[in-house]
Structure formats: structure tokens, C-alpha cells
Subunit: 419 residues, 2 copies
């Protein structure tokens, strides 16, 4: 029998309403296999925690605190936007990781993130071969953008989709009430840098009788056609709702909302497509507007999380540990859909080599021919993912969310300077 | 015994998550007193419906549909931003109202709105004396701004306060997770044109360990002091949250977010204080930011409504009918707080003459001396109002909200041109 090893778990990239549910799945499952997995150390602020030897001892957290992670949004251990360079470009960081893993007897690496993070996890998974340190690296999928390949969906997406559908429905009822003498067009900006999955969820309200126009990043923005569509809907219904993705852009690639700043991964930092679109409508058609930018509210909205999403986030955390115990390395547990109605799925497995840095866009047959809505195929895809409510417990009017003790593991190594 | 009369009910001004709960209270209570009140006619799009003789026959709605109004946001009959001029300035409109009331045998006028609407309701209440048409006009308070006088709070406010507290808490957990390598300041813009009640609810998250700065409309914006406060909090905690009221303004009265457009009441239309504040922080302190503008999402968020608020909205609708049945005119039922802990209140009554056009601002002792937070007195005031959850029923992943048939009453009069 293999020697018992400790595990490292870290959260990476933008957090979600359910990434802590995956953490809960990882930690509870590891705790249930104490014969094979020693302690779970969490990276404080993601992979930074490993490089800085800033490890959190999760064994100091009570079973109740870990259980509460299931209903706590955001990253309980801190996340990071930090992408490891290639082994050739930055061998120093990999050597440091191995030093830290060795010092703390870490044999399992669970990395909870999106596409960029899958790349980091994949690089770590190659350390055994490249640098002779035995490690099993398993990626736990997470991204509100729903843009990881192979898996049918990504934890975090179902909840933000539910948030967007519910919020767009509610705000549409509002503008419908006001339209006779006041606001006629409501614009909601949602996340989704390159993929329109989140924006697509806004189109679900069409089945509730709401006239809605969706602006996807997959469809080049055509101002004249957009304004004509809004004009038609307002003439027909007296009002309309526009759901615009932050990634919506002109044919030349320029975002409607470009602000000129970039994040640590080099991506343009977006925001502000909604006011651009709203003012465009006002200028061309004269309609009074309101606009909202949901930003973090959408991805942190644990209070309205999808029960399906919470369940899958937990299951994938659990599956990651089970895959490690079965001896796997360089893989990611996935959701494999078996049927839409009734919704059935099973947990599968994908090689990280095929996941890292691959973005999954909306299939063209999920977007209507006019480019402003979603097809029945898309609805069949989306509907199961927003099903069910998984309410947190409340105290004093707000949800009870976990703030962990996050006690540090004693350092054994000299300091390391992050570059 | 007085002759049985029909009732007119209308929704006015910006709608809320619970204004339909008041409608439910009015209609159910009227239906329980069929000996005294005939039919309830609702104005399609508020007072416009009365002027245009566009009345909705609520008796055509099932008991189930009316009950569902209790958990449906926005204005089920349509609202309007339309303020009657004085009797001297526009006698024509009042004569028309009387024509319509007489044609449909209307003796009760229930008007569900805020300060401007209370003014309209008051003017209608004076028609008996001024123009000899017997009518009892009762105002049902409603405003997310919580700025009506005399009543301890206004239906609609508790739910938006709960939304803001929950959303600010969730987004703060998000920025706390990201702060090490990414976003350090999150800015949430909330409603409140002149009164900072909604912004104040954002400060409740301080008791959950979140460093938060609130920018009230009651406090003149001082950029240097604000930036110093943010700087201190980020140095202490690594991150901070800013909750900015749309009404936040410079000492010269200029709004941070002024867009130059005005609504039908002549108020400046605001929006966009959050990006202004966020870019200010970025420029001065260099911190990466995210910002959200909640706009309609906050006031339509029935999915996270306060149970206290829903209950009071219903009770005040019910009380309005009861006051009418007792013979009152020109009054508004109110919430009279009896104690904070345990929270106890009773339904009171205020004369409309003292309500119309009076705005209630935050008392100075509710705002901390530095102007960026709330005092314990304010917390004691706010806490009961956000207590309890009152979840709607869900189907297919989204709430089941009522869309009424809204069948028109046959017209008996010639058309009337709105000016």
C-alpha cells in the first residue's frame, strides 16, 4: 500500500457562488479517507499560497465549518489570478513548488479553476515526469463562463444562469409596469468575456412572455439591426429588455465597453456595455431607459444558487479526490449529460491535456438565426442547469456564510520572492 | 346604511418588490366586504387609467391570481409617473376624474405610491369639498426610498434593503477572495435620489467583518477624505467595499452621476456613480476595481424580499380599505414602531395633508460622524425591516409570478386627451 500523503487544494481565477461547495466536496471526501490522505492543506490565495509556502491547515476547521462551505459563496481560502509560465520559461517556480510539496509531504494537488487554471494544473501534473517529484494533479472545474471543453457544463455557471434568468424576469416585470409613461427599455449587462452562455440564460425569459434581445459575444454587433429589433419589440409590446454580454463587440473586435485596462492574465478588463447600449437606444429611438451592470453580484449570488449547480460542484470536488485515490493524474472530472428530460448525468473524466487553454463557445445552433435569441436546443441545454433552489440559512436578515479560521501551517523553508 | 360603491385602485411611481402585495391586501379585503364595496377597478397604468377611462375589472381575476400578487414584484396593473397639477392649474383633469368616477359609480380611491403620489391622492381627496363629488381617497404608502414622513417605514424599502445587504455581503466575500492578486475595491451603486436609506443597508455588512464605505446623498462628497478612507481600509484589510447612493453629490449639488436627462416629474435621471467612484479610486490609489449598478434589479428582487416588508405591504393595503370602510378620507395608513427588540409595530393613520410632498431624510444621528457609515441607532432601526424570507414558488428554475388578464371595463364616456 502506498504511503499516506497530504493533499494541496487551491482556488484559482474568478470565484463563483459554488466553488466552496467543490472545496467542501474535496475536504469532506479526503477526511473520509484518512487511511490514504493525510491533511488537506489549502493554498492561501490560490497557487500563490504554494509558492509562498503560505498553507492553510484545513484540519483546524470543524466539520460544521467545512459543511457550511457548501452554502458559502466566493473563495474561502482566497483565490488568485496567477498563471505559471512554462517549465522552460520559469523553472524556478516549479522547483519551488516541489520544495514546498516535499517539505509538507504533499502528493495530491487539487486545483479548482477554469481554463487558465487547467493549464497550471496540467503543468504541475507533469512534474513527476519532468522533475522526478511524484505528484497527482487533478483539476476541479469551475467557471461561471461555462467555457471549459469536454464537460457538459461547469460548476458556477448554473447558478449565475439562474441569477440572470430570475433577475432579468423581475426587472422585465418592472419595466413592463413603467413603460406607459416612463422607462421602455431595460438593459442588463452580464459576464462572459468570449462565450455567451451567461447572456443566453437571459433569453429564457422569452418563454414568460417577455420581449428580450440578447447581444452575444459570438455575434458581431450590428447597431442598425439591433436598433431595428428594439424598435419592433417596443412597438409590439410597449417595452423590451436587452441582455448584453460584457464581451459584445464590433466586427473589428472592439468591445462595446472597452476600458483600456487589463487583468493579470492579459485579458482586457471590461464593463460598461449596458450604458453604451442604453444611450444608443435613447439617441436613435428616444426611449427612456434604465440599465444595470450585475458584475460580481451575479457570480456571488449564493442566495439564489441553482440546486443542480451546487450538487454538481460538490460531486466534482468529491470525484476529484476519488480519481486521485484511484491513481489518476492530469485529469479533470466532468459532467456527462445522459438526457435532457428527465435530466440525467454521470461523472466522467477528461485528460487535462485536452482541457487546458481550450475555450468552448456557444454552438451556432444554440443562437437563433437573427443572432438575438436562443434556440430550443439551447433551452433544452440550459433548463436543467437552473433547476432547484438551495437556500442558505439566514440569521439577522442575511445568509450565514462561513468565514474560516484559515490558520497557517508552520513554514519550513526560506522565503520565496514572487516575480 | 350607505349605498354600496365601487373602488378604484392604482399603482403610481416607481414600482417595488411588494407593491402587488399591497394590491393583494386591498383587493382581498374589498372582496371580503362585498356588502359595502362593489367592484374594485384598477387603473391601467396608474392614474392614466382613470383619466383615459381605461379601467381593469379585477373581479375577472380568480382568487388564486389575486393571492399570487402577494409574491409578484412590480406593478401588475401598470404604474405611471404622472402628477396631477393643482385644481387651479388643470381643472379639466379633475372634472374628467369625476366624470369617470360617476360613470362607474366609484366612491373609494386607493392610491398606492410615494411622496408625489400622496400629493395626487390628497388632491383627489379634496374633490368632495371642492367639486361636490363624494369620494374617499386613501393613500397606500409605497417607496423603496423610504422617504415618506410619519410612517416608521415604507413598504418596498425593507426588501430593497435586504437585497442590498445580501448582495453587498456576497460581493464582498468575492472581492475578499480576489484581493491578493486582483480586485481590491468593489463599488456597488444603489438607489436613493435624496435619502440614503438604501445605501445605509449596505453598511449592515460591517457587522460581518467587511470593511465598507458608504456614500450618502445626505453627506456632501469629499473626494480627498473618501480616498483616504479607502486607502486606510485597503491597507488594513487588503480590500474594501464601497456602497454609493445614486444621489451622492458634490458640495455644489452636482451629482457624481448626472446624465443630464430628466424624468416626467422633472427629477434628474441618475445612474453611473459607481464607475465614477471606481475610476477615482483607480486613478488615485491604483487599485484594481469592479463595480455594479443594481438599478431595477434591487427594487424588483421579489426572490429575496423581506418577510417583514411583504407582511407590512399587505397589511397596509388591507388597512387602507378598513379605513375607508370606517369613513375616513385624505389619510394614509402607517407603520408605528412600538419596539426594536423584539420588533413590534401597529398600524396607525396619518393625514395626507402632512404626507404629500414631504421627504424624510436619514436623521443625522443615523450616520456616523465621519459620514461613511451608520450608527447603532440606525442598525436598530434597519435590522427588523430585513428580517425573514418570503420565497416565491418556483417552476422551471424561476419564480412563478402573476401576469393578470387585466380585462378592460367597457367605456361609457367619450375619449379624453391627456396633455
Amino acid at each position: 500500500m502506498a504511503k499516506k500523503k497530504n493533499a494541496f487544494y487551491a482556488q484559482s481565477g474568478g470565484v463563483t457562488a459554488v466553488i466552496n461547495a467543490s472545496a467542501c466536496g474535496v475536504i469532506q471526501t479526503a477526511r473520509a479517507h484518512k487511511d490514504k490522505i493525510g491533511k488537506v492543506y489549502a493554498g492561501r490565495n490560490g497557487i500563490i499560497g504554494a509558492l509562498a509556502e503560505d498553507l492553510i491547515d484545513t484540519t483546524r476547521e470543524s466539520a460544521a465549518a467545512i459543511a457550511l462551505l457548501r452554502s458559502t459563496p466566493a473563495g474561502a481560502f482566497g483565490s488568485a489570478r496567477y498563471k505559471l509560465k512554462s517549465l522552460e520559461a520559469n523553472k524556478r517556480e516549479y522547483e519551488r513548488l516541489i520544495e514546498v510539496f516535499r517539505a509538507h509531504d504533499i502528493g495530491y494537488f487539487f486545483y479548482n479553476g477554469g481554463g487558465d487554471s487547467a493549464d497550471t494544473c496540467y503543468k504541475v501534473s507533469q512534474l513527476s515526469e519532468a522533475m522526478g517529484y511524484p505528484i497527482q494533479a487533478i483539476h476541479v472545474p469551475k467557471t461561471v463562463d461555462n467555457d471549459l471543453p469536454i464537460t457538459d457544463c461547469c460548476p458556477g455557471f448554473g447558478s449565475v444562469a439562474k441569477y440572470v434568468a430570475v433577475s432579468a424576469l423581475e426587472a422585465s416585470f418592472d419595466v413592463r409596469s413603467m413603460a406607459k409613461t416612463s422607462t421602455k427599455v431595460f438593459v442588463l449587462e452580464v459576464m462572459g468575456r468570449h462565450a455567451g452562455w451567461i447572456a443566453a440564460a437571459g433569453a429564457l425569459i422569452e418563454d414568460h412572455g417577455i420581449p428580450v434581445v440578447v447581444l452575444f459575444p459570438e455575434v458581431e454587433f450590428d447597431e442598425a439591426r439591433f436598433l431595428a429589433r428594439v424598435d419592433t419589440l417596443v412597438k409590439q409590446h410597449g417595452y423590451c429588455t436587452v441582455v448584453v454580454s460584457e464581451g459584445c463587440h464590433y466586427p473589428d473586435g472592439r468591445f462595446l465597453a472597452e476600458q483600456g485596462t487589463r487583468d493579470a492574465f492579459g485579458h482586457a478588463q471590461l464593463g460598461g456595455a449596458a450604458p453604451v447600449v442604453a444611450n444608443m437606444v435613447k439617441k436613435a429611438l428616444g426611449h427612456k431607459f434604465h440599465w444595470a451592470v450585475a458584475d460580481y453580484l451575479q457570480r456571488a449570488a449564493r442566495h439564489i444558487a441553482s440546486k443542480t449547480d451546487v450538487k454538481q460542484a460538490y460531486e466534482l470536488g468529491k470525484a476529484a479526490v476519488q480519481l486521485a485515490l484511484k491513481g489518476h493524474n492530469a485529469v479533470m472530472p466532468t459532467i456527462e449529460r445522459l438526457s435532457d428530460t428527465p435530466y440525467r448525468y454521470k461523472i466522467g473524466m477528461a485528460p487535462l491535456a485536452k482541457v487546458a487553454n481550450v475555450e468552448k463557445f456557444m454552438p451556432r445552433n444554440f443562437i437563433t438565426r437573427d443572432g438575438f435569441g436562443i434556440t430550443d436546443a439551447c433551452k433544452r441545454y440550459l433548463m436543467p442547469l437552473i433547476q432547484g433552489e438551495d437556500y442558505p440559512r439566514y440569521k439577522d436578515g442575511v445568509p450565514v456564510y462561513a468565514t474560516l479560521k484559515n490558520m497557517a501551517v508552520a513554514k519550513k523553508l526560506p522565503a520565496f520572492e514572487l516575480k
